[in-house]
């Protein structure tokens, strides 16, 4: 086996055939056992596996000291011991993968309506889109922190409203939602699609397109 003349073992000549290994060697043993064990190991189990005469508790104390301030620590869990990564390095135990997905069309349209009409109730969004808005879409936008709840509307039922957030403005490089270009500008910029998008009609948007306009930002379009 290996010798460790260093460390604190200033052992005299072996007095017995069954002399326990030097404490540094015992420390190595504990280290290896704690490392390889699937679960925390009780002191008596450690000692049972070590050669006769070993003092697992003392070796553990040495080992614990050795790992102080290191990337891993010797920790006590109940009456058992284990090696664990240092808590301040927990961030390394995560591997972040960033996946970029295109926002769904429903989400974009909902977001657009909120941006142009804020504060805007769910019923208003549905009225403008002509289809019902799924809870998931709103939740997704809330989660992305692109929209948040605004004041309740002073209409019967006092429905909640949605408004866009500073994060939204930041993401789209807008100073305020008022900076969103109006329809005329969109048209002038050639941004209007000339044909109804495929499926737009088949989605069965119904007749209720002619309801009273939500107020809010819509006046932007009445130029």
């Amino acid at each position: 086996m290996t010798e460790h003349p260093d460390d604190d073992d200033t052992e005299g000549p072996a007095e017995s055939l069954f002399e326990a290994p030097p404490i540094a060697e015992q420390e190595r043993m504990i280290e290896a056992m704690l490392f390889a064990s699937a679960a925390p190991v009780p002191v008596r189990d450690l000692e049972a596996r070590m050669p006769h005469g070993c003092d697992a508790a003392e070796a553990l104390a040495h080992l614990r000291k050795r790992y102080e301030g290191r990337g891993v620590r010797v920790v006590r869990i109940g009456d058992a011991w284990a090696i664990r990564t240092a808590p301040d390095l927990g961030f390394l135990m995560q591997k972040e993968t960033v996946e970029t997905r295109k926002l769904s069309r429903a989400a974009i349209e909902t977001l657009a309506i909120i941006a142009y009409h804020q504060p805007c109730t769910r019923a208003e969004i549905e009225e403008i889109r002509g289809v019902s808005v799924s809870r998931g879409t709103i939740d997704q936008l809330l989660e992305m922190e692109w929209i948040r709840l605004g004041r309740r509307k002073m209409t019967p039922g006092r429905p909640v409203t949605f408004v866009v957030t500073p994060e939204f403005l930041d993401h789209f490089g807008l100073e305020s939602a008022r900076d969103l270009p109006g329809l005329k500008e969109l048209r002038a910029a050639g941004l209007l699609e000339n044909r109804p998008p495929p499926g737009a009609l088949s989605l069965g948007q119904s007749e209720d397109e002619d309801g009273p306009e939500a107020d809010g930002q819509s006046e932007l379009f009445e130029e």
Partner: protein
Amino acid sequence: MSDNLFQEDPLPVAERLAAEALIVDVDGFEGPLDVLLTLSRTQKVDLRKISVLELARQYLAFVERAKALRIELAADYLVMAAWLAFLKSRLLLPPDPSEEGPSGEELAAHLAFQLERLQAMRDAAARLMARDRLGRDFFVRGQGEDVARIRTVTYSATLLDLMQGYARIRTRDEFRPFVMDRDSVFTMEQALERMRGLIGFAGSWTDMVSYLPEGWGGDPVRRRSATAATFAASLELVKEGHLEIRQSDTFAPIELRKKESGQ
């Protein structure tokens, strides 16, 4: 008697015993090369200095004995025997300069190389398996802390997406022409509905044109649609047996009358 037997077998006793042991064990061998390698050990020399001639002799004796003991050897053992017999003759006879192909020495050298290489690989395999091995001599971390995979999904949308999305919704009215076309379309269903209510009063032959709905006679587009729908509806009613239809001449007015006999 024993003399006779002895003369039949020119091999020394030790070798003969070795050959017999080989034969008993023939199933345990991995082919002729394996046997040759085992035989070569009886020469107790470095494989590089082995006498291939001697080895060939030993192998041929091995095959002979197997035959004598009526032990069936696989074909490749016999192929090897034939090849070694050929090699032996090449090695024994003085080289024939007119002969093509490699010399006996070259062939023998290659065989020696093969044996040496096989032995080397066996030694290497043994050394490999004797190494400290994972899960036996050294160990992995018992309680791995799995790296948590944090998948962040970022959704991308550009200002353009946003504006186009909005424009798409807000300008749907402008696409209405497509829908509003339907204003100029009088459907067969509508015509049928209308006709069913009217035919009760059609006791005598009446020009189909008079059944066109109000306001559909002026605009040519609307009139065409209404006429076609009314005509189709009329045919449908004829088929159902509620109506009679006639046309006196090509392009003459189409006339309708309630069918009396049916009901």
